[in-house]
């Protein structure tokens, strides 16, 4: 990680949008998903590859505020099945599933009647799962609704990918050593300050480096 493109990447990392703005994007996706389907709740799980768990990343509706950061196994239960198999699924009468009902009650105090779940993937990388809980029963269910959910999942996957890329870049910028990390930290400092003197100093440095 010492070539020129890494320095450019590091500089870009320092200027990345904040964690908050990415969170706002994901929150907006679950809010809109909930609105479109007239659902009681919607949530996004992110796959934590290091611990191999699914983590609540955004929640709209029931459980909002309490669930962020909560972790569940990555390959059991309905969300785990959706993640591992890559298949969207819609289930009603969930309260009939004794294990699901018990776990949902323990985690959130809220046991939904129905659930739509779709994997979030970008190219060949699995990122997580988007869920919509207790959609409106006013209209008959159709394949068009799954198509709509998949469209939303694409948007959520892009948001999640940006969030993960930004997090990795930020780790590099904040904890790394060597020239790349210095450039990243410098870019981040410049991004946050309006110090024109510092900018002028760097411009002078740029001119010097060009002479070398």
């Amino acid at each position: 990680m010492t070539d020129g493109s890494s320095y450019q990447g590091a500089a870009a990392a320092g200027m990345l949008a904040s964690e908050e703005s990415h969170r706002a994007l994901l929150q907006s996706i679950v809010d809109v998903a909930r609105g479109i389907f007239g659902a009681k709740a919607s949530s996004i799980f992110l796959l934590d590859e290091e611990t191999d768990e699914l983590v609540f990343e955004a929640v709209s509706g029931e459980g909002e505020g309490d669930l962020i950061g909560m972790r569940i196994p990555s390959s059991t239960g309905i969300a785990g099945w959706v993640l591992v198999t890559g298949q969207p699924i819609v289930i009603d009468d969930l309260q009939q599933d004794p294990r699901f009902a018990r776990q949902a009650a323990e985690r959130t105090g809220y046991v939904p009647q129905g659930l739509m779940a779709v994997p979030l993937a970008n190219a060949d990388r699995l990122l997580g799962v988007l869920q919509v809980l207790d959609r409106s029963q006013e209209r008959a269910f159709s394949l068009g609704e799954i198509d709509l959910l998949i469209l939303f999942a694409n948007q959520a996957a892009i948001g999640l990918d940006l969030l993960q890329t930004a997090r990795r870049a930020r780790v590099l910028a904040e904890q790394g050593e060597g020239g790349t990390a210095v450039v990243a930290r410098l870019a981040a400092l410049l991004e946050r300050s309006d110090d024109t003197a510092a900018l002028r100093l760097l411009e002078a440095l740029e001119a010097v480096l060009k002479q070398l």
């Binding site: 796959l47 590859e49 191999d52 196994p73 990555s74 390959s75 059991t76 239960g77 309905i78 785990g80 099945w81 993640l83 591992v84 198999t85 890559g86 298949q87 969207p88 699924i89 819609v90 289930i91 009603d92 009468d93 969930l94 009939q96 599933d97 004794p98 294990r99 699901f100 779709v118 994997p119 993937a121 970008n122 190219a123 060949d124 990388r125 699995l126 269910f141 159709s142 394949l143 799954i146 198509d147 998949i150 999942a153 694409n154």
Partner: protein, 272 residues
């Protein structure tokens, strides 16, 4: 032909007279000819999924149940002591049992070991199922991991040439996934109908057939039943019909079976 030692990629004039294939095909392959009175008896159907709860009344027992687990970098086959880790495999088994009541159901569980090694488990499970020479393997799952595509392709082809029918649910996500796209696999998407014996041949592959996949009452974990929707429930319908055809016409190759499914589809005049 069996005593021939050179590879059979050519046909001598002498051999041409000796490879007659006995098959009694009717003038018109109809539903009645294909599955009329069939029960799936004598056919082994494998559910490669989250495990199967054999005690569920809608499943009515499983013939065998193994789990694929990780042992270091390898996958190994062990007796399944856990059963279904989700409910989904039980749902698929229930659909197969409903349509092909006399078939033998086998469970190969490939879920429950975390996501990280999941593609290895699917690959290991498929290899095991093909080695068992089950007539039908239902795969209501896929992997997006490209590095496994080539190995899955080889496995799918070996199944095809060894007389094992792979039925896989199509993936309606805008990402490449496997193995349902391979032509040696029968891929299935959903239609909006409510008849379990309604299926359509798709003139625009890679999805080759559409079967019932929405608003199904399915068996689930813990003896329960749920209402469920997804392509993953369409595949076991075609797996079950395949078992019916094979029980009535033993020895059909996957190529012949796919032709029968095509000729008896709801949109090809297969229903008289």
């Amino acid at each position: 032909m069996s005593d021939r030692v050179i590879p059979a990629w050519s046909l001598t004039a002498e051999a041409a007279t000796s490879i007659g294939i006995p098959a009694e095909w009717p003038d018109r392959v109809s539903r009645e000819w294909a599955i009329g009175g069939a029960t799936g008896e004598g056919i082994d159907v494998c559910i490669l999924d989250s495990g199967v709860d054999g005690t569920h009344p809608l499943v009515g027992g499983v013939e065998s149940a193994v789990a694929i687990v990780l042992d270091g970098d390898e996958t190994i086959v062990v007796p399944d002591e856990v059963g279904d880790v989700c409910g989904h495999g039980t749902a698929c088994a229930g659909i197969v049992r409903l349509l092909a009541p006399a078939c033998r159901i086998h469970s190969v569980r490939v879920l429950g070991e975390g996501n990280t090694g999941s593609a290895d488990l699917i690959l290991g499970g498929l290899r095991h199922a093909i080695e068992q020479r089950f007539e039908v393997i239902n795969l209501s799952l896929s992997t997006t991991k490209r590095k496994f595509a080539e190995m899955l392709h080889e496995l799918a082809d070996s199944a095809y040439f060894n007389g094992t029918v792979l039925v896989a649910s199509a993936h309606n996500m805008p990402v490449e996934s496997y193995p349902w796209r391979f032509s040696s696999v029968i891929s299935v998407g959903s239609h909006e109908g409510t008849d379990s014996l309604e299926w359509y041949a798709n003139p625009n592959p890679p999805v080759e057939f559409f079967a019932r996949g929405i608003d199904l009452d399915v068996a689930w974990y813990g003896g329960s039943t749920l209402r469920a929707t997804g392509n993953s429930f369409a595949a076991p319908h075609i797996a079950a019909v395949s078992a019916l055809v094979l029980s009535k016409h033993p020895g059909l190759t996957p190529f012949q079976l796919k032709s029968v499914l095509y000729l008896t589809a709801s949109n090809t005049g297969g229903i008289e």
